[in-house]
């Protein structure tokens, strides 16, 4: 068997085994689309480093290493819920399958279990599911080989956050999430990935109708041997606003790809995030923001701290289409390397086809500032404590914009514990 076959065969065999283990289901409205998705995946395969967008992140290598290893033990334990202090409506997704909710679903939210596709799917699912284009074959895989997932529709303003708690201990799980925000609806969406193991492949489609508001906070703390891939495709309509925060401290390899289309005047997207890495962890955040309408705004601030032999990657492409005048786009990515063996790759990219736009971008990789270190030490902070305080400050900027105090506190705690691990893993 040649090398190329390995990663794809690993996934396709796993998929075949999954299908065989289930009772035969009735034909579904989605069968044709899913067959095509599997076919696309079969033809193009797992992304490799020869593809420009994947040159820093060797997904195939990571999957091949994983397919050779047998997952040890069936232990399914969450390392504590990072959002425990927040009163939220919780939905658990175990190995890609939605579990029965333990509390009453808020009135403004409709839920559809994507694991029951042969059920009569409501129109809003049929119209939106699988519509956002996949940018890579892993997105196709998440559709074609999905074990299950959730579709949600929010019809009005909500106050109680929804917490999606993903947990996995299987070799490979493909899963989908569809969220439709009706005009004027609002939601706080919390997403966590416990100490999941195996390949976690999640495909997310978000639809923000006019004036909708979505706050999305994702904390990824998968097991250090996990491979985590998530593709988020989003349409933001007129005067709708998306604010996303994405923080990472786990997974041997993690790739988060966000493709955001700002399609209506006044549409806004604000992204922030932090990766705190130690050991041999690898976290890649790749964003594509497409300003297709005028007077749209995007902001991005990503901070990375890499220790040990870890590697942090940020690739951000902003496109301002012809006619999208009055658009405003800002993008900043920074990294601090804790030692000589850590690595960061930051790649901002701008493509401007409109005339009247404001765009600013910047990227910087460095060590901690020696003036600041000396200042803190002269105030009697031991060197390691001084370093920790400076890194804390560096990360803090990425969470300052999280509007809810309780959520911001949860993210800060999450990162602080990640930082302790990263510093322990040595420089």
């Amino acid at each position: 068997m040649n090398e190329r076959a390995t990663a794809e065969e690993f996934l396709l065999q796993d998929f075949a085994a999954d299908v065989a283990s289930r009772p035969a289901s009735r034909p579904s409205w989605l069968d044709e689309r899913r067959r095509r998705a599997v076919q696309n995946f079969r033809e193009e395969g797992v992304p490799n480093r020869r593809i420009e967008q994947w040159k820093y992140t060797d997904l195939r290598g990571a999957l091949e290493a994983q397919s050779a290893a047998v997952l040890a033990g069936p232990v399914l334990h969450s390392d504590g819920n990072p959002f425990a202090a927040i009163s939220a409506f919780q939905l658990s997704i175990s190995n890609g399958c939605l579990q029965e909710p333990s509390s009453q679903i808020p009135l403004e939210i409709e839920l559809f279990d994507l694991g029951r596709l042969d059920d009569e799917a409501p129109n809003w699912v049929r119209q939106n599911f699988g519509e956002a284009l996949s940018r890579n074959t892993m997105g196709e895989a998440s559709l074609g080989m999905m074990r299950g997932g959730i579709a949600m529709r929010v019809t009005a303003a909500t106050t109680t956050p929804v917490h999606l708690d993903f947990l996995q201990n299987a070799d490979a799980v493909h899963c989908r999430l569809l969220l439709v925000m009706e005009p004027g609806a609002s939601l706080v969406l919390l997403e966590s990935h416990g100490k999941s193991r195996g390949l976690i492949n999640l495909g997310v489609e978000l639809v923000l109708e006019p004036n909708a508001q979505l706050i999305h906070v994702r904390l990824a703390d998968s097991a250090p041997d996990a491979v985590q891939v998530e593709e988020v495709a989003m349409r933001v309509s007129r005067d709708a606003r998306y604010r996303g925060h994405f923080s990472h401290k786990g997974a041997r390899l993690s790739r988060l790809e966000l493709a955001i289309a700002l399609e209506g005047e006044g549409a806004e997207a604000e992204l922030s995030g932090a990766s705190v890495l130690g050991g041999k962890l690898h976290a890649d955040v790749t964003t594509h923001i497409d300003h297709t309408a005028g007077k749209t705004a995007s902001r991005q601030l990503f901070k990375n701290v890499a220790g040990g032999n870890s590697r942090a990657v940020y690739q951000g492409k902003i496109t301002v289409r012809k006619g999208a005048d009055g658009s405003d786009s800002r993008q900043t990515a920074k990294a601090i390397l804790l030692g000589a063996h850590a690595e960061a790759d930051l790649k901002p990219e701008l493509e401007i086809l409109a005339d009247d736009v404001k765009c600013a971008h910047g990227a910087a990789i460095g060590d901690l500032d020696s003036d600041s270190l000396f200042y803190l030490r002269s105030r009697s902070l031991p060197e390691d404590e001084a370093r920790r305080l400076l890194i804390h400050g560096f990360l803090e900027e990425a969470i300052l914009e999280i509007e809810r105090d309780d959520v911001r506190l949860a993210v800060r705690d999450f990162l602080e514990s990640g930082l302790a691990q990263a510093l322990e893993s040595g420089s």
Binding site: Y375, R377, S378, R379, L381, L400
Partner: protein, 251 residues
């Protein structure tokens, strides 16, 4: 007893000798001033005393409270009561001033074997000291020195000095960039620390500050050496003649 003895100090920074045989003794309870033109080595002296990396002592020594400083880290010196008010206090984004003060105060207490203070006690001490120096609550909530004016930064240095209650305080051009009202506030803060068990070293370019913090001794630093010494009247003489005039007299 001598608080600080500097003997024939030679310091090299980035391959260049900046201090070339500086000697100075500060006895406990005294206030000394070091004056000198730009480039005379004033800031090099303050950084060397505080233990900054890259400031290499190639000859001579510094005794602080009878102990050789050469092998002590900046944090050890601070724990033993040394405090440097920076000429250019650094900005630290993402760390609120209050959080910084609490962290530093408790680090110092830990180093000295004292119990850490809880948030409420820290807040109380900080508020007391802040009132006298006109440091607002709003400043305490902002990130350390970020967006502070020159005067605000200097007042915050003195606020830290008031909180840490150092044994030896070194003020590196604390007067630069201060208007007269801020200068008086800062001087009051320093004078409050003027007790028989402490020592203060004021480093300045101008005599103005010394009208408010009256020194026991004045030393003139030029090209890395002390070139003149005297009582507080020397500062006024310098003001009248300028550094060049004094150098002519000395020659």
């Amino acid at each position: 007893m001598n608080m600080l003895e500097i003997e024939n100090l030679h310091v090299v920074v980035q391959g260049q000798e900046i201090l070339k045989g500086l000697s100075l003794v500060i006895r406990t309870g005294e206030v000394h001033a070091i004056m000198g033109p730009n480039g005379s080595g004033k800031s090099t002296l303050s950084y060397t005393l505080a233990g900054r990396e890259g400031y290499e002592i190639t000859e001579g020594r510094i005794l602080y409270r009878g102990e050789n400083l050469a092998l002590q880290t900046p944090e050890e010196r601070a724990a033993r009561g040394m405090f440097l008010a920076f000429q250019y206090p650094v900005e630290i984004p993402g760390v609120t001033t209050m959080n910084f003060l609490k962290t530093a105060l408790n680090a110092q207490r830990r180093a000295r074997g004292a119990k850490e203070l809880d948030a409420m006690s820290v807040l109380k001490s900080v508020r007391e000291a802040a009132g006298a120096l006109n440091v607002s609550e709003e400043m305490l909530r902002r990130a350390l020195n970020v967006g502070f004016s020159g005067g605000e930064k200097k007042r915050l240095e003195i606020l830290q000095m008031a909180l840490f209650k150092p044994v030896l305080a070194i003020l590196d051009e604390t007067d630069s960039g201060l208007d007269i009202d801020a200068l008086k506030l800062v001087a009051d803060g320093v004078n409050a620390l003027r007790t028989p068990d402490r020592g203060i070293l004021v480093i300045t370019h101008y005599q103005r500050l010394l009208d408010y913090i009256v020194p026991d001794r004045v030393h003139v630093l030029d090209k890395g050496r002390i070139v003149a010494e005297g009582g507080k009247e020397l500062a006024h003489e310098l003001e009248a003649k300028g550094y060049a005039g004094l150098a002519r007299d000395a020659a």
